[in-house]
């Protein structure tokens, strides 16, 4: 009995090792820092899939510098501490570069870990403006930051002839930051924010706020928090008789919003980073992804795919796995053709253009808005 248990454990061990497939010593190892556990795991796995797909495609075409790319996942769990542990582990495994970064709060402390080891880092989702100042110089953000979202938002409001605005957030770092940046930008343009509200997360009843909005009758209401509560707010605004424009921040690009808000979500605007279904260049990407993983790509899959491709491109330009040379190659990136649009960087290593799009709720789903005030296509 005892012997059999030991044998079984030994067997499992051997199988485990075999299954994991230790990276070949000469492979080019790329870390993929994404949450693969916890509440954000679905998004993280969508990103990991896309990074793997990019690596597979490169390997199928003969690899990079004559080597194969192998992807080492590091689970950030959308948690600062877990992310630092994952980053330290990746660094100790001697990776050449790292791609990923989801949940700005978790990405922030890893900047130093990779910075100290001079590991090039292509950040494909996290976009808090706080990452910009904390960047030691080795990280490159290919997703637009909150500043760009504010620019997109005020441009749309202006084009729609909006004069007075109501901004509602939930008081957390993300939604409050977006709300404050928008208020500042809007007032700087000489317009008025007639109403600035903070509601509690999970508060189901927004009727007092709705009444106050009807009293102040702003031309537009801008909700900067997430879709779950946003859906209830939209519904109650329309039920309460508010007929003005409603705009939502990038936490609302979810089909679920239409299930929760129903008809009230028709004609509502949403600012968002480009998801694959709105990118003309992503058709083959979507088909390949669907074929390999039997599900449509997630909201950050396209950017993660671009991130891996960009990293491979930089290694090729550097001509070696010398990390400093790769960082220099990334820095010099000019109009790299990603499926989410061309990539060039500013002095601060952020994306040189805004990749935000405006979506419009129509027929129970998000559609790309191309009317007045919409950002120009990349």
């Amino acid at each position: 009995m005892k012997r059999r248990t030991i044998l079984a454990i030994a067997g499992l061990f051997a199988f485990g090792l075999g299954g994991a497939g230790p990276a070949h010593a000469a492979d080019i190892k790329i870390g993929a820092q994404v949450p693969t556990s916890g509440s954000e795991a679905p998004y993280g796995i969508d990103m990991l899939n896309a990074i793997r797909m990019a690596a597979d495609q490169i390997n199928a075409k003969g690899g990079l510098l004559g080597e194969k790319i192998s992807i080492l996942p590091g689970d950030s769990a959308c948690d600062p501490q877990a992310a630092v542990n994952a980053a330290s582990k990746l660094v100790s495994e001697n990776i050449t570069g790292v791609v990923g970064g989801y949940c700005s709060g978790a990405t922030l402390p890893t900047l130093k870990v990779y910075g100290d080891a001079h590991v090039p880092f292509v950040i494909t989702a996290s976009n808090s403006t706080e990452l910009i100042g904390a960047n030691p110089g080795n990280a490159f953000m290919i997703n637009s930051t909150g500043f760009d979202q504010v620019k997109t938002a005020v441009a749309l409001f202006k084009a729609k002839g909006i004069k007075t605005l109501s901004i509602i957030n939930e008081g957390d770092a993300y939604s409050a930051n977006l709300a404050q940046l928008t208020r500042k930008a809007w007032e700087k343009m000489g317009n008025k924010v007639v109403d600035y509200e903070v509601v509690s997360k999970g508060q189901q009843d927004f009727s007092p706020v709705v009444t106050r909005i009807r009293e102040r009758h702003p031309d537009a209401v801008f909700w900067t928090a997430y879709y779950a509560d946003g859906a209830l707010l939209i519904k109650q605004l329309r039920q309460g008789g508010y007929t003005g424009m409603i705009a939502l921040g990038d936490g609302n690009n979810s089909p679920k919003l239409f299930q929760l808000a129903g008809a009230a979500a028709e004609g509502v605007y949403c600012f968002s980073n480009p998801t694959a279904n709105f990118l003309p260049a992503a058709k083959t990407f979507i088909a390949d992804y669907q074929k390999q993983f039997h599900q449509p790509p997630g909201p950050y899959s396209a950017l993660s795919y671009d991130g891996m491709m960009l990293m491979a491109h930089a290694i090729k330009v550097a001509g070696s796995t010398d990390k400093m040379k790769i960082i220099a190659a990334l820095k010099a990136t000019h109009a790299f053709p990603g499926i989410a649009g061309p990539i060039s960087f500013t002095k601060e290593n952020t994306l040189a253009r805004s990749n935000f799009v405006v979506l419009l709720g129509k027929g129970g789903q998000w559609t790309l808005y191309t009317g007045p005030g919409a950002p120009a296509a990349p």
Partner: protein, 304 residues
């Protein structure tokens, strides 16, 4: 909108919000009144009730429709199911601890709350569920003040439930037994009152009321999730304390008062709604400093 209409609309808003708080606060208050336990799992019974009602409505709406014809049976089903769950929780988690230190029962109640929440999380995957009914926005308009029929039914239903409960507790033998147990459990045993059964009955009624509130909230707001019981649990507890914990009319008054405070708190001139909760809870502190037993609570002599 002219100011008086704004205030009238806020009054209606507060009344509706308050009736939800009141329904949940009743169960809190009843259980506390009878066995001196803060049943932290109460908010989660509200959540469980919403899901039970959602499940029932999905089944019934096929032949009863998604209007009130389907909703009323769903509410009744949810009240029975969650009432039974409340009794089971009492039997499994609280009754064995009847003689244990109060703190142990309190922690058990927290554990039950976590348990219910995480079971719901596991079942729903943390997703928000759309609770679709076909109730319209039709209603009565007074100037720009709009009150839908659904809202009126909601407030009416809560008032009816509360009145029935008050009549039950003040007018029946079972109610009398509950009140007696609140005063002295041991004396009740000597008098031949089945204490455990009466406590189970208290849990049955309290949980059923929370379930009714949960389904009504689902119907009204149209979205339910595993975490929806948390915030309302806290608010209902606050309402129960304002009203005087242990008192049934107190819980109703407390709930309505808290709802009105929140609605009018948004309207305080010169400040944004980020200050709303500051005012509401500052008021609560002041209120309790001057009236620690709440609106209708009786000063209590601690038994040694």
């Amino acid at each position: 909108m002219p100011l008086y209409e704004v205030l009238l609309q806020q009054f209606a808003n507060g009344l509706i919000l308050g009736s939800f708080y009141a329904l949940v606060a009743l169960g809190y208050s009843m259980v506390y009144g009878v066995i001196k336990l803060l049943n932290f799992a109460h908010g989660d019974l509200y959540m469980t009730g919403a899901f039970a009602g959602f499940g029932a409505l999905s089944l019934f709406s096929g032949w009863l429709g998604g209007g009130w014809g389907g909703i009323v049976p769903a509410i009744l089903f949810s009240m029975v199911a969650v009432g039974a769950l409340g009794v089971i929780i009492d039997r499994v988690a609280y009754r064995p601890l009847r003689q244990a230190p109060k703190l142990s029962v309190l922690i058990t109640a927290l554990a039950v709350s976590m348990l219910l929440e995480n079971v719901a999380l596991a079942f729903t995957g943390g997703q928000y569920t759309a609770f679709t009914t076909n109730l319209g926005f039709a209603g009565v308009d007074l100037g720009m003040v709009h009150v839908t029929y659904t809202q009126m039914v909601l407030v009416g239903a809560s008032v009816v439930l509360m009145v029935v409960l008050e009549l039950f507790v003040s007018g029946t033998m079972h109610g009398k037994a509950m009140r007696a147990i609140a005063i002295d459990q041991d004396a009740c045993r000597l008098m031949g009152i089945d204490v455990d059964r009466t406590i189970a009955l208290t849990f049955l009624i309290g949980s059923a009321l929370a379930a009714a509130a949960g389904v009504l909230a689902g119907v009204y707001y149209g979205s339910i999730n595993f975490f929806m019981g948390f915030l309302i649990g806290l608010k209902a507890f606050t309402a129960a304390v304002i009203g005087g914990i242990g008192s049934i009319p107190g819980a109703m008054l407390g709930g309505i008062l808290l709802g009105l405070l929140e609605a009018f708190g948004t309207q305080i001139p010169g400040v944004g709604s980020e200050w709303k909760d500051v005012f509401v809870f500052a008021f609560l502190i002041l209120f309790l400093v001057f009236r620690p037993t709440g609106l209708l609570g009786r000063p209590e002599v601690e038994r040694m």
